[in-house]
């Protein structure tokens, strides 16, 4: 369960996020949708605690991301945008390192790695050094790393970037599996179709603010558009100056 209320964040004079509030419930896939530079990544970075909000607050499973950031991080598995594995370590060693950082060890950790390898279909390259891995393989390693400590909340920043069709399909399948297992999945994307195909809840962000949110049906209703893409354009258009 992730809660964000009235979060704002600036970098110097640039206001990256001006006012974002939403909730991502357990057992649901919440999509953060918005054009490039809308503030999606900044919002997610605040949630996995590498940035501090200037205003407002956010919590993961009730742990405040500023005052209880260690607990919030423990409850979160994060896949930052463009995250890569260590090239000189094998896929297993990469995942093991993160398991150890999360206080896991020994046979239990190795079992968990095997489990993830089965789930993400990475047994072919599990014992290989990750240097020269394809984008799909890299993403799988990064994902296994993020999930190794079985976090209840999973935050994925543009996870399908650079993946081919098959890898994208497999990732969507995995995201659904996580939802069905009761996880709170929050992911960002600028691809309308992806969000439409996957999300239970959609939060549309434009220029650092939430401009619309709800289930796909609710969004269509709110904007009076039958097509979700038109609904998105209508919601974004007003702040992006397109209309």
């Amino acid at each position: 369960m992730i809660r964000v209320s009235n979060v704002a964040k600036s970098f110097g004079k640039v206001k990256a996020v001006s006012n974002v509030s939403f909730e991502a419930p357990d057992g649901a896939i919440t999509g953060l949708l918005g054009p490039n530079g809308a503030g999606k990544s900044t919002t997610l970075r605040i949630l996995y605690t590498v940035l501090r909000p200037d205003q407002g607050s956010a919590s993961v499973d009730g742990h405040d991301v500023v005052s209880a950031s260690l607990a919030a991080r423990s409850a979160t598995g994060a896949l930052p945008h463009g995250s890569g594995p260590y090239p000189r370590l094998t896929a297993r060693e990469n995942v093991r390192y993160y398991g150890q950082l999360n206080g896991m060890s020994g046979a239990a950790l190795e079992r968990r790695i095997d489990e993830l390898a089965d789930m993400l279909e990475m047994n072919d390259f599990l014992e290989r050094r990750t240097k020269g891995f394809s984008q799909g393989q890299r993403t799988k390693v990064a994902l296994a790393r993020a999930l190794v400590h079985s976090p209840r909340n999973v935050i994925l920043d543009e996870p399908t970037n650079g993946l081919d069709v098959m890898a994208t399909r497999a990732l969507r399948e995995l995201i659904r599996k996580l939802r069905d297992a009761g996880h709170c999945v929050l992911f960002s994307s600028h691809v309308m179709q992806e969000v439409a195909a996957l999300c239970d809840e959609i939060v549309i962000i434009g220029r650092g603010e939430v401009v619309a949110s709800g289930s796909p049906d609710q969004l269509r209703e709110q904007t009076g558009e039958a097509n979700l893409e038109d609904a998105f354009v209508k919601a974004i258009g007003s702040v992006e100056g397109l209309e």
Binding site: L70, A78, P80, L89, N102, A146
Partner: protein, 388 residues
């Protein structure tokens, strides 16, 4: 604590697999002593032969000037029969210098006229030829003065009339003094290699990690950033310390191979000395690691970090070149300066005149304090958002 150990172990394992890291550590351990040996052998070679070593001089027409030949022999120049065609022989590099005594030499000498002599050498050739030429020329000039003096005396004039100046040249540089100045570059090599040993780790664990996109997920782990930063710092310091040990061992091996006894010097640099030096020098590894991490934290990419660090590590290392020439004293002031004090410990240690224990401890303490301050700064830099 366990997170710190996890980070430390991971960074060590990761970087042992990095060819650049291993090569720069081992490379320093092999290259520095090799360079030193080359330099040392060169110095020994030139200084020993500069001393009055006898040289052989081909002379055309030896029989025309027996007294002059005797004079040459007295001055350690051994005249031998010269070649048929002296000019060609010198330009073909068969000989460095050839003296030609023309047929009218004796006649001219007896007539009191300037007796012609011809000295042939090739200035485009090596230093050896040039040096031999000067030796011969100087001895011939001396002979010239002797003859002039005799002629004046015959005429009842004191030879001192034509010697208004009496120039005495003394070169006090003994071969062993020169050898000591070469030994003086060892501190520079050793300390530079301590920085090089941790060089790639300092970059790889900061700017490199950022560039390959592994820093952000790492910072999202439930681990205090201080543990991450210190784990990385200790791994860097370990590589620096291991390089230090390797380089000291390599020098101990190299010094054994240099024929220092040729100049009457003996430098004992055994395992005991290596360990004793290591025990006093290791704090600089921590300082070097923290120093390089602080600099690398400001950079955005591996390339950028490499560029900056290459320049920045000259700051604590390059002034050490001066130690070789200035031979500063170990005092409470000089021993409080990190890097400089380590250089003094090495210099004195090599000579077997150890810096006193209190001063050595002073060096270790101030180095650790400065290192801790830099480590604190490195941790602080790791904690700011801008590290991403």
């Amino acid at each position: 604590m366990s997170a710190l150990r996890t980070v430390f172990v991971k960074e060590v394992r990761d970087n042992i697999r990095d060819r650049r890291t291993v090569l720069s550590a081992l490379g320093m351990a092999v290259l520095a002593p090799a360079l030193f040996m080359g330099l040392m052998s060169f110095v020994l070679e030139t200084t020993v032969s500069d001393a009055e070593k006898s040289i052989t001089l081909p002379v055309v027409g030896m029989e025309r000037a027996p007294n002059m030949m005797a004079f040459l022999r007295q001055n350690n120049i051994d005249p031998v029969a010269g070649p048929e065609n002296p000019d060609a022989a010198v330009s073909n590099r068969d000989y460095g210098v050839v003296l030609v005594i023309p047929g009218n030499f004796g006649e001219s000498l007896q007539a009191g006229m300037p007796a012609p002599l011809r000295l042939i050498y090739d200035s485009s050739r090596t230093k050896d030829s040039e040096r031999d030429y000067r030796r011969v020329r100087d001895v011939l000039r001396a002979y010239n003065s002797v003859l002039a003096g005799l002629r004046l005396q015959v005429r009842g004039i004191s030879p001192t009339v034509v010697q208004p100046l009496a120039i005495n040249v003394s070169n006090v540089a003994s071969p062993s003094a020169q050898a000591i100045s070469v030994l003086g570059v060892i501190p520079y090599f050793v300390i530079f290699s301590m920085f090089m040993g941790g060089f790639y780790l300092a970059i790889d664990t900061t700017a490199g990690e950022r560039e390959q996109g592994s820093l952000e997920p790492l910072l999202a782990q439930p681990v205090a950033r201080a543990s991450l930063a210190l784990g990385k710092l200790l791994a860097t310091a370990l590589f620096s310390a291991v390089t230090l040990l390797l380089v000291l061992l390599a020098f101990s091996f190299a010094i054994d191979l240099v024929p220092l006894e040729k100049v009457g010097m003996s430098v004992e640099f055994g395992l005991g000395k290596v360990l004793r030096l290591f025990a006093m020098l290791w704090p600089l590894s921590l300082l070097a690691a923290a120093f390089m991490m602080v600099v690398a934290s400001f950079t955005k990419s591996f390339k950028e970090a490499q560029t900056y660090l290459t320049v920045v590590i000259l700051v604590p290392t390059l002034p050490l070149m001066l130690v070789a020439f200035l031979a500063p004293e170990a005092t409470a002031t000089t021993m409080a300066i990190p890097s400089f004090s380590q250089a003094l410990i090495i210099t004195e240690g090599i000579k077997g005149e150890w810096v006193s224990l209190p001063l050595s401890l002073l060096s270790m303490t101030t180095t650790l304090i400065v290192g801790a301050a830099l480590a604190f700064l490195a941790v602080k830099l790791y904690q700011r958002e801008g590290i991403l």
